[in-house]
């Protein structure tokens, strides 16, 4: 067991040295989680927008389910995706288990509900302000959704970042469907888990530092988006 101060020094050296393995892991993390974020937005934003502007029987239950899905445990998502992609599962023939694609699928399932639920809230607030004016202009539903998505763009970017933040930090889903295979499916969180269990604290800490930096960067970006929106009087 290394001493923490020593490990921290090694970790910083690792980050500074531009270690190849380290950056491969970071790059895969970003690729998987950014892809999941993009797909989650493609699915989640229209769903959020439609629920925001629609009134239908059972809407209250849909909202409860959407909000509950925000808290999906990553390991449960990982397990469900594993069952589908495993060789005997219904999607086993795709051969996707232990690939980055499976990890993207799992993280998408994890964060699409977050994007849908948060964007629903943002868009519903905006719609309650615009609704009467939109009806007066006799806008089609397509134009309404388009205007809401565009006018809420700064808030929706922070929603997307919230989804990304959750994806990049989770370990339960990617470790089950990715398997933490070196040079193939090893991402920051799974590497941290593995290296820590092996007592290799320096790599774990190096990755931890990068992960923290990314988290800080995401929050800074959210802050900048909020301020920009406010400054332009768009929020």
């Amino acid at each position: 067991m290394q001493d923490i101060g020593q490990a921290l020094g090694l970790a910083l050296a690792l980050v500074m040295s531009g270690d190849g393995d380290l950056f491969e892991i970071v790059a895969l993390s970003l690729r998987v989680s950014l892809s999941a974020m993009a797909v989650a937005c493609v699915i989640g934003l229209p769903v959020g927008a439609l629920v925001a502007i629609s009134r239908f029987p059972g809407r209250g239950s849909v909202l409860v389910v959407m909000n509950a899905l925000m808290g999906l445990p990553p390991v449960v998502v990982g397990l469900l995706v594993y069952l589908h992609f495993s060789r005997s599962g219904p999607l086993g023939f795709l051969g996707l288990l232990y690939t980055p694609t499976a990890m993207i699928v799992a993280q998408t399932i994890l964060i699409a509900p977050i994007v849908a639920a948060l964007s629903r809230q943002v868009l519903e607030d905006l719609h309650s302000e615009y609704a009467e004016q939109f009806r007066s202009l006799a806008l089609s539903r397509r134009h309404m959704v388009g205007a809401l998505l565009w006018d809420a763009r700064y808030s929706l970017m922070t929603v997307a970042l919230a989804g990304f933040g959750r994806a990049v930090a989770e370990v339960g889903a990617v470790i089950i469907v990715g398997g933490n295979i070196d040079h193939l499916t090893r991402v920051m969180t799974t590497a941290i888990a593995l290296e820590t269990s092996k007592g290799e604290l320096s790599l774990a800490l190096a990755l931890g530092i990068i992960l923290l930096t990314i988290a800080l960067g995401v929050n800074a970006a959210v802050q900048v988006l909020r301020q920009t929106g406010t400054r332009l009087a768009y929020v």
Binding site: S136, D151, A233
Partner: protein, 251 residues
């Protein structure tokens, strides 16, 4: 007589496409929220042109009447007919300026561009429409940074951009200074003179006298009085209108 039959024929030829949505006929209009009765068997007829001012005490249902006529809400009872059509079917041929303008979170110009684009109208008219309401120099400002008077003028420009046959205005100058109010009045008068049918709610007696061709006075959920502007203000016929105007003029 021969002249008056000739003129409509010329107009029909000039605009063959759309049959007018006027006159307006309202019969037995009722609106209530639970126990609260707002409109109670309201009847109203409006002819094809001019400016009608709707007056009446606060809470009498003026705003709700405009929304009913515009097809934004449904009545509990009664019938509204725009030359035979339901309000919901003619919403797109009308425009409304709400008391508190709702502007998109975009630039001033983009607010106009949006309605022109969604209506399939000529988008190159944006600068001209902005100049018409004196907002040309604010084209690139965020719309939500406008002052009250500027925001109301933008809302008016947006309403006129869609070339409505009927323009509803709900107390458009209620919170504006005299100069801003005057600017709005000028634009409204020009629209009226171009043939836009104006239906305006206001508490401002001077404004009503300057703009109205006729006045509709609401009281207790009905039309208490409907008269040409020259007859209404000097000698209101209903007690309700007399009380309202005395309260107004005396302060």
């Amino acid at each position: 007589m021969s002249e008056s039959t000739a003129i409509p024929l010329v107009r029909e030829d000039a605009r063959p496409a759309a049959r007018s949505i006027l006159p307006l006929e309202v019969r037995g209009l009722g609106l209530r929220f639970g126990e609260t009765v707002v409109l109670d068997g309201l009847d109203l007829d409006l002819g094809p042109e001019g400016c009608t001012v709707i007056m009446g005490p606060n809470g009498v249902g003026k705003s709700l009447l405009l929304k009913l006529l515009h097809g934004l809400i449904e009545p509990c009872s009664g019938r509204i007919s725009w030359a035979g059509q339901r309000p919901g079917a003619v919403t797109a041929r009308q425009a409304m300026v709400f008391q508190k303008p709702v502007l998109l979170r975009r630039t001033v110009a983009a607010n106009l561009d949006f309605v022109l684009r969604t209506r399939g109208l000529d988008r190159s008219r944006v600068p001209q429409l902005l100049d018409h309401v004196g907002l040309g120099h604010k084209a690139d400002d965020p719309a939500r940074r406008l002052s009250g008077g500027e925001a109301q003028r933008l809302a008016l420009a947006r309403a006129l951009a869609i070339e409505p046959e009927v323009l509803f205005l709900d107390e458009p100058t209620a919170s504006l200074d005299p100069a801003s109010a005057h600017a709005i009045e000028t634009i409204v008068r020009q629209a009226r003179d171009r043939g836009v049918r104006i239906i305006l709610v206001t508490h401002d007696v001077g404004q009503a006298q300057r703009l109205a061709d006729d006045v509709v006075f609401l009281n207790r959920g009905r039309v208490a009085e409907k008269a040409p502007v020259d007859a209404f203000f000097p000698v209101p016929q209903s007690q309700a209108a007399r009380d309202y105007l005395t309260g107004k003029l005396v302060f």
